[in-house]
């Protein structure tokens, strides 16, 4: 936006209005976390719960500050972001392709889908010895584990989304001689996008969560490692600091995905489209 445009907007009050509205929403969103933290603080300082059970918010903040100021957090985070990102990218790509195929083609669905749903409920932790065996103790086993678990939500949502596309719209595609890739990109994927984005948001969340299991496999950095370390050494304040880091990272990636979703799905005709 050029300066001029901003000036105009300001004069008309629209710029300020939009900014205010954003701040207002942020404020509303912070009510709940703020009350939780307040309640936590009050409980902790009341002394009714011993400090080794419930560390004070300030102590946790202290940890956060220390992690940031020593540069440790940055190091752990960058490792973890790379792992979560690469694993997520791998898992999601595979899930998208397979999800569309099994959603649209009954043949594929009958062969592949039943097995996938059986594999889906095998705990990630159980895979880790096998993954160490297959992929070694380097980064690849971590990517593989994250890819495996992020695969399922996107797969399931894509498949259900594609399988649930209104027959009427598929017929429009047929009548216009779309087939194969073109049918996918013009009809099936757009129609299942709302569902797809739900899958993406879930997989992104899971990519963060499974970092812990992944970083059990021979990692010496990463926020999952940090959390485990806090747990192994009995430092609840550090564990809580890590939980907050997880929550913030998750929140940021979730906002990113849902912002994209809001723009991509602006065509939807729903009650609060664009909210």
């Amino acid at each position: 936006m050029s300066d001029q445009a901003i000036a105009i907007d300001k004069r008309s009050g629209q710029f300020n209005g939009a900014l205010l509205e954003r701040l207002r929403r942020l404020g509303i969103a912070l009510i709940l976390p703020a009350s939780i933290i307040a309640a936590w603080h009050l409980t902790a300082v009341s002394g009714r719960v011993p400090a080794y059970l419930l560390p004070q918010p300030l102590e946790v903040l202290n940890w956060l500050v220390r992690l940031v100021s020593t540069g440790e957090l940055q190091r752990h985070l960058s490792t973890s972001i790379a792992r979560a990102g690469i694993g997520f990218a791998l898992g999601v790509s595979a899930a998208t392709v397979l999800g569309v195929l099994t959603g649209y083609l009954l043949g594929w669905r009958r062969v592949v889908d039943p097995t996938i749903h059986a594999l889906r409920t095998i705990p990630g932790l159980a895979w880790s010895p096998m993954f160490i065996l297959w992929f070694g103790i380097g980064e690849s086993s971590k990517y593989a584990l994250i890819a495996l678990v992020t695969f399922f939500p996107v797969y399931l949502n894509t498949m259900a989304g594609v399988a649930g596309v209104d027959r009427k719209l598929i017929e429009v595609g047929r009548v216009n001689r779309l087939s194969g890739l073109r049918m996918m990109t013009r009809i099936l994927l757009p129609a299942s996008l709302p569902s797809y984005f739900v899958g993406l948001r879930q997989s992104m969340g899971i990519a963060w969560i499974v970092l812990v299991a992944a970083e059990l496999m021979g990692a010496s950095s990463g926020i999952g490692f940090l959390l485990l370390d806090g747990q192994m050494t009995g430092r609840p304040a550090l564990v809580m600091a890590c939980m907050i880091i997880f929550a913030l990272c998750g929140k940021i990636t979730d906002i990113a995905i849902s912002t994209i979703a809001r723009h991509v799905l602006a065509w939807q005709d729903t009650l609060h489209t664009g909210e």
Binding site: Y52, L53, I137, L216, L228, D229, T233, R235
Partner: protein, 299 residues
């Protein structure tokens, strides 16, 4: 007279005396008259014992001596009331043809270890003793079974071992290249500080049970070994080997233990696992409660 409603005891597969005490029901018998129930809760490793202690879910539980110190330095309400086992349950292992024959060969090599556990501390202390900085070796944090697997499949060059994986690996051909009983803190019995303060006589009773169980093991070694093997799901030869390494009847808390634990604490402090400003001596002082076991043995 005041007494607890129940006594919750954490037991582990690796500590034969608690296993036997649980199986024989000796403690239940003693407490039946007072109407006190005994609850046995499986704990997986030292860190879980301390977590359960911290939350008040158990009153007693076994852990490594170093882990007890680590937890206490970080604020856990635990007291060491007795030593449960001593012996060489930890050592550094490698494969025969790895070219590693002593700690001096480790720089530049990959060594697997489970963070914040006795074997890891053992590795750190061995390196320090040899004048090698931890950063000169590549430490790969892996859970014990996976560390063993990584050694066996050649993904790491050495491994800081703990029984029973230690024995399994040995039986499959891995060799010990560094051992030092002085760098091992051994297994201790922790009690919750509140429990110790409120029910000292029941602390003694539980310790009496441990002593009884140890004597029972000495009298029925085959039965105890079978129990140990079954609980841990171990092959007989593995159980035999791991079991034999335990020295169960040196319960008393000695000055050497004090020094050993403080030395371990020093390493922990250097690696940042406990606060930099921690007073090691004071922590150990507040951690150790030797009077109960002394009283029991004096009887």
């Amino acid at each position: 007279q005041e007494h607890p409603e129940r006594i919750a005891i954490g037991y582990g597969y690796a500590t034969p005396s608690t296993l036997v005490l649980k199986e024989t029901g000796w403690l239940e018998e003693q407490l039946a008259d007072d109407g006190i129930a005994v609850e046995w809760i499986l704990t997986r490793g030292s860190n879980q014992t301390l977590e359960f202690l911290r939350s008040g879910s158990i009153d007693f539980g076994s852990s490594a001596g170093s882990a007890a110190f680590l937890g206490h330095a970080n604020g856990a309400p635990n007291k060491i009331v007795a030593w449960l086992s001593r012996g060489e349950s930890t050592a550094l292992l490698t494969l025969p043809d790895s070219g590693i024959s002593s700690v001096e060969d480790l720089p530049g090599r990959k060594v697997a270890a489970t963070r914040a556990t006795e074997p890891y501390l053992f590795l750190q202390r061995a390196l320090a003793e040899a004048g090698i900085a931890e950063s000169e070796v590549e430490v790969v944090p892996l859970q014990h079974p996976e560390g063993r697997q990584a050694l066996e499949s050649g993904q790491v060059d050495a491994w800081a071992a703990l029984d029973p994986d230690f024995s399994i690996a040995e039986l499959r051909g891995a060799v010990v290249f560094h051992r030092d009983q002085n760098l091992i803190t051994g297994g201790v019995l922790n009690a919750h500080a509140d429990f110790v303060a409120r029910y000292p006589q029941y602390v003694e009773l539980v310790l009496q049970g441990i002593v009884w169980a140890t004597e029972y093991i000495a009298e029925n070694p085959d039965e105890a070994k079978a129990l140990y093997a079954e609980a841990g799901g171990l092959e007989p030869d593995v159980a035999e080997r791991a079991f034999a390494r335990n020295i169960l009847d040196q319960y008393q808390i000695t000055d050497a233990d004090f020094a050993n634990v403080v030395a371990a604490g020093d390493v922990l402090r250097q690696s940042g696992s406990i606060p930099e400003d921690a007073d090691l001596e004071a922590t150990a002082q507040s951690l150790f409660a030797p009077e109960f076991i002394d009283a029991v043995l004096a009887r």
